[in-house]
């Protein structure tokens, strides 16, 4: 009977020019219904009150509504016994008083997933029917007929309380889903059933979707989890790989692309604190960059003849170096654990257009450590270390620059952003280190590659192409990365060439100009949320200070010396301030590692994005929503 109902529904949909989407296992691309009527804020309030408030809205989306709610919420047609499940979503009829009052706001409609007590269970696929507002009038009578549904009164004003959920279609049985995101909904569905089991909501992000963890716990002798696990695997969707780069642009905003747009939902629950490893971003390596560059600065201050009037001792360098070594080891270890246990999350970070550049940070930090090596520890470093450190940089470069040149989605005109400087600076730092160690050809190789690609990046960033989706509109500390490349390049060229000649001086003056042009705009750098990535933006300042010291060795006069002192002071002060902020956030505010939303975006745009926007900020205007809606096609016609 339900099948016939659905068939009639579909016919009527087509007749009335509605959008009916049947998403099967394979997941047709779903289209948003063109016309949606919105629910008023009153109904939203009612909706919210039923579901524990707007804060938990997201939770509701991804978990099963508690049984008490089922009576009020399960108003839609829920078909169960098809070979898939059909969740019919339809809006309130035009006759409802709700619509009489507000007819200009879009309706968002969703369906609630009933819990198992109502006899429905999601087995494999979900079929979703989207029906437009005109539809319900025709199907008014019919959906109320299913006998197994508690809800009959579907025409109440509060009717429009259907949950939507991010639908990830497709699933397969039994395949080891290594590197695949399993259907988050599936795994979440089982939570209320098995409260005693571990939280499976984070399974999609775990290595092999949690199988590794289960095996480890089995090894440790924990009780065998019931067969449900096998069923879980069997039913977990295997297909969905990492979201395409366009999804990152659509779903995220902000200079570091780390804020979820109002219209997007996160795959993981936002109200709960995620596991620590999952919250540990790769940008934490920025801390190593900041501290180890400080070690280099104090070493240079101690051993430069032109700075000898300061009488800086090498102990400072030693202390800083030891701290940075310890920090490096710690962060390396933690991230290594993250790779082991949450490989999927690491993959998502790798595909993030901004975070991918931070994958260079560990190696650059290692190079800094070798550069800042205190003379008391060792003087001569074996050349093999340089090759070992440059090999990962080389491989990463091949991949990333090649993507710029020939990749489809990650073309530079689209993804260029100041963080790309991190991928360029590695070349120059490697050249500097190699030349300091006495190597000849290798440093020139990396210098050449870095210079060529730096030119391209510099021009592209200055152009601020309209197709560029990631360039922050406002000034942000990330812009300090502009200063990094020329300052390190000037030092590298000086070392390669033997003296601070014209090439180095040109690079140095460019670096100084960029620094000055950013420093005079210091007012614009306010009002940003602190994040760990800020540590990465301090090393350019330190680099500029070191370059100035080297320049002052060449051209020794009061001006250059005072400039060196001034820049060193600024950089030290900045690092100290950052350290204080970090400590405050870590121990007092406890939000040093917030939920890493940017890796938890959905594969596809959620269905009822407009309603979500409304719910999340009930008082916001339509304009705000429209402004925050991602454009479908960020690429303009040229």
């Amino acid at each position: 009977m339900l099948v016939t109902i659905l068939e009639e529904l579909s016919h009527q949909m087509e007749n009335k020019d509605l959008q009916v989407q049947l998403s099967t296992k394979q997941g047709f691309p779903e289209e948003l219904p063109s016309l949606l009527k919105c629910i008023t804020s009153q109904t939203i309030a009612g909706f919210d009150s039923v579901e524990c408030g707007g804060m938990n809205y997201q939770t509701q989306l991804v978990t099963i509504p508690n049984p008490q709610e089922d009576a009020t919420a399960g108003k839609g047609l829920e078909a169960a016994e098809l070979h898939g499940q059909v969740n019919v979503i339809f809006g309130p009829p035009p006759s409802s008083p709700v619509e009489a009052t507000d007819c200009h706001e879009p309706h968002a409609i969703s369906v609630s997933m009933p819990a198992s007590p109502s006899g429905l269970h999601i087995v494999q696929a979900k079929k979703v029917l989207f029906i437009d507002k005109a539809g319900p009038t025709a199907i008014d009578g019919q959906p109320n007929q299913p006998s197994d549904s508690d809800s009959i009164n579907s025409r109440q004003p509060q009717q429009g309380k259907f949950h939507s959920q991010p639908i990830s279609a497709g699933n397969s049985c039994g395949k080891p889903t290594e590197g695949k995101v399993s259907d988050p909904f599936e795994s979440q569905l089982r939570i209320p059933r098995n409260d005693s089991q571990r939280d499976k909501r984070f399974d999609p992000f775990k290595t092999w979707s949690g199988k590794l963890e289960r095996q480890l716990s089995n090894l440790r002798g924990k009780p065998q989890e019931p067969d449900l696990e096998a069923a879980n695997d069997c039913h977990s969707a295997e297909n969905e790989t990492v979201p395409a780069v366009d999804r990152y642009f659509d779903a995220l905003e902000g200079p570091e692309l780390d804020t979820l747009r109002a219209t997007e939902v996160s795959v993981l629950p936002e109200d709960k604190k995620w596991p620590f490893l999952l919250r540990f971003p790769i940008s934490s390596f920025g801390m190593c960059l900041g501290v180890s560059s400080q070690a280099i600065l104090w070493k240079t201050l101690a051993i430069s003849p032109s700075m000898s009037f300061l009488h800086v001792s090498l102990t400072v360098n030693l202390v800083l170096w030891c701290i940075s070594l310890a920090l490096m080891a710690t962060i390396f270890l933690i991230y290594f654990l993250k790779i082991i246990f949450f490989f999927e999350a690491v993959r998502r970070e790798y595909h993030h257009p901004i975070r991918v550049n931070f994958f260079f940070a560990p190696w650059i930090a290692c190079l800094f450590l070798v550069l800042g090596l205190p003379p008391s520890v060792t003087v001569n470093v074996h050349a093999a270390i340089w090759y070992v450190l440059m090999a990962p940089i080389f491989c990463l470069e091949l991949k990333i620059y090649g993507q710029w040149m020939s990749g489809g989605q990650r073309r530079l005109s689209k993804v260029a952003n100041p963080s790309n400087h991190l991928s360029i600076v590695g070349n120059f730092v490697g050249a500097l280190l190699g030349a300091s160690m006495g190597l000849k050809e290798g440093p020139i190789f990396f210098f050449a590659v870095g210079l060529a690609h730096y030119t391209v990046l510099f021009v592209t960033l200055y152009q601020r192409l309209p197709t560029n989706a990631t360039l922050p509109k406002e000034l942000h500390p990330v812009f300090f990365l502009f200063v990094a490349a020329p300052s390190v390049a000037c030092m590298a060229w000086a070392k390669i060439h033997g003296d601070f000649d014209y090439g180095s001086r040109i690079a140095y003056f460019i670096a100084m100009f960029l620094y000055a042009s950013l420093a005079v705009r210091i007012n614009f750098f306010r009002g940003f949320r602190f994040s760990l990535a800020w540590w990465a933006y301090t090393f350019p300042m330190t680099g500029a200070a070191v370059a100035t010291i080297k320049y002052s060795m060449e051209v020794t006069n009061v001006l250059t010396q005072s400039l060196s002192v001034g820049l060193s002071a600024i950089s030290t002060f900045t690092v100290t301030a950052l350290l204080v902020s970090t400590i405050i956030h870590a121990f007092i505010l406890h939000d040093l590692f917030p939920n890493d939303i940017s890796i938890a975006i959905t594969q596809k745009r959620p269905k009822f994005s407009k309603k979500l926007a409304h719910l999340r900020s009930a008082s916001s205007d339509m304009k705000d929503i429209e402004a925050s809606l991602p454009k479908n096609n960020p690429e303009l016609e040229l």
């Binding site: 040149m405 530079l412 030119t455």
Partner: protein, 385 residues
């Protein structure tokens, strides 16, 4: 090529039709000849890739067999090869170049519309540099002409002036027609214009004419800078290259390689700038070679675009040779060896493929024909000749 040799003498038969009962036969013969002639004129400028590769290969062999102060690993190997092999290669290169030039001249005469279309096509216009580059390379690799002779000078002028003219036309277009042309039309084959300037610069430096060499070098490098940035940006909406032409991506590392060679000739030694350009070329080569998926679609069927693989490899091998001369060591020698062998093998393989699959190589239609109906119109002029 053998087919062409056989077909050339037959043109004499296509004279005026006679008013005899054999007119029918004559018409059939004439139409056959005309159809075959129209086949002939379908050779677009892309076919010059063949001559480019062969001339480059000849230059490589000549450079490898030059006597040097140090006995490198490769040189004894090259010396064992009879010099006749080099001479054979050089004659093959010369022959292919002459044949292609003649074919293109015939095409100019009979399909002028196509030539005009080719000149305004974003890929085709760059291959108009190719014949002149080939002639210059051949000139440099001539076994019997010394760079300081007068005939060398004259020939250099003869081959470089067209490059200048094309430069003015094409770079001027970038400059004045603005964004619409460069951002939209830039594609990897645009680097052939840069390579043309650099080859001219190198030949001039060999002659001893430093100023003209420097002039052409700076011209090439300035436009290379613009082109490099534009190509890397990969502006959305720009004319994308068809998948069949993916082999031209190899030109990405041909340009800096040639620049390295040119600067080496100008400055006399393989100094830091040449080294940097060589390393950049090496990096881009590694980057492309580690992406075989990029070329998969173009490798399905043999076509003339495959010849685009050979010339850049030859240029890289040449640069590696000069580098090994400067930096004497095991790694540089090994690099020179590997790259030279690779380029020789690739060229050889392409030659074998050409001889085996000549049918695939011959043009089936003229991609620059204004329209299919025009092809019959081109039959008309031939009747009057």
């Amino acid at each position: 090529m053998e087919e062409r040799e056989q077909q050339l003498p037959i043109t004499t038969n296509s004279s005026t039709p006679r008013q005899t009962p054999t007119t029918g036969l004559n018409i059939v013969a004439t139409s056959k000849v005309l159809a075959w002639l129209s086949n002939l004129t379908r050779f677009h400028a892309g076919y010059f890739r063949i001559s480019l590769s062969l001339c480059g290969q000849a230059l490589l062999w000549k450079t490898l067999s030059e006597p040097t102060t140090d006995a490198h690993a490769l040189r004894p190997v090259i010396h064992t090869l009879p010099s006749a092999a080099f001479f054979f290669l050089w004659s093959l290169a010369l022959f292919s170049l002459v044949a292609l030039c003649l074919l293109y001249a015939v095409r100019c005469l009979f399909r002028f519309e196509s030539i005009k279309a080719e000149l305004s096509h974003h890929v085709g216009m760059n291959y108009l540099f190719a014949p002149w580059i080939s002639w210059l390379l051949l000139l440099e690799s001539t076994p019997f002409l010394h760079p300081k002779t007068a005939s060398y000078l004259v020939l250099w002028w003869v081959f470089s002036v067209p490059i200048f003219v094309l430069d003015v036309k094409i770079y001027g277009q970038w400059f004045t027609k603005g964004r619409k042309l460069l951002s939209m039309a830039a594609n990897p084959t645009s680097q052939i214009s840069v390579i043309g300037n650099l080859v001219g610069a190198r030949a001039a430096a060999r002659m001893g004419w430093r100023e003209s060499a420097l002039c052409m070098f700076s011209l090439g490098m300035a436009h290379y800078l613009v082109l490099f940035v534009t190509l890397y940006q990969r502006f959305v909406g720009s004319n994308s290259l068809p998948a069949m032409l993916r082999p031209v991506f190899f030109l990405f590392f041909a340009a800096p390689g040639m620049a390295s060679l040119a600067w080496d000739s100008i400055s006399g030694t393989f100094d830091n700038a040449s080294k940097m350009l060589f390393f950049l070329s090496l990096f881009l080569f590694a980057s492309l070679v580690s992406r075989p998926a990029l070329f998969r679609r173009s490798m399905r069927r043999f076509n003339v675009a495959w010849w685009a693989y050979s010339f850049p490899l030859t240029v890289l091998a040449l640069a590696a040779t000069e580098y090994a001369q400067e930096v004497k060591g095991f790694i540089s020698d090994a690099l020179m060896l590997v790259l030279s062998v690779l380029s020789a093998l690739v060229t050889l393989a392409l030659l074998v493929f050409t001889f085996l699959k000549t049918r695939d190589l011959l043009p089936h239609d003229d991609p620059f024909a204004p329209s299919s109906s025009m092809s019959t119109a081109f039959v008309m002029p031939t009747l009057q000749t």
